[in-house]
Symmetry: C2
Subunit: 104 residues, 2 copies
DNA sequence: TTGACATGCAACCAATTGGTTGCATAAAGT
DNA sequence: ACTTTATGCAACCAATTGGTTGCATGTCAA
């Protein structure tokens, strides 16, 4: 599953934000704010898992999810070249990235 | 049209890259590398236009497209909070952004 | 003015998406 | 043991997506 696709759904982005802000959560907990069925939440989470953005493991009967934000780096790296034409702040950031800080 | 959705398709990302690298191009020119019909290219371009990522105007019989990368900033800004947990380079960048450089 | 070229519009189609409901199962609480 | 709770699996569905083809239109070149 492609990461850009995984991030293209607002609900999935909300799930990511929730995990970011509130730490590891179960399916039910993650679904609480959202106005969709539990199964719909599961589907979205599975998309995120396939994209490696989220990892899950069982703790008893609960499936606990954890955010794995590193894959999102790919997106940031794709965006970089274009950043030069954005606002001042981001163009300075782009300059920064373009300096001798490469490591890979 | 949501920007994340616009960026979620690989062909649309290719179109963006083409406009970035080769400058303003017509529909036909943009479709040349791709193995899909002209109309499919048009559809993708229209998605990018609705997302304000691309602007187009006619020059004679040709519709010339231009990249408008600034809207992508939104994506970068969404990504930012998570960057702290990425690699060293990006976490330093995040620190940089988190300093007193805010402006908005 | 005739023909070639670049495009728009519309119909159509298969596959995917995002959602649902119903039922089954395993873990935890009483 | 019984009940509740959290989940998985599968079927189903409507809407959207990404693609196609056919035909119409406006522009440019000969």
């Amino acid at each position: 599953m492609d990461i850009f696709t995984a991030l293209s759904d607002p609900i999935r982005r909300q799930l990511i934000e929730a995990l970011w802000q509130r730490g590891p959560l179960s399916i039910k907990q993650l679904g609480e704010g959202l106005n969709i069925s539990r199964q719909a939440v599961t589907k979205h989470l599975n998309v995120l898992i396939k994209a490696k953005l989220v990892s899950a493991e069982f703790s008893g009967k609960e499936r606990i999810h954890q955010l794995n934000p590193r894959p999102m780096e790919q997106v940031a790296l794709w965006l970089q070249p274009f950043a030069a034409q954005w606002d001042d702040r981001l163009s300075r950031l782009n300059t920064y990235l373009g300096e001798e800080h490469e490591q890979d």
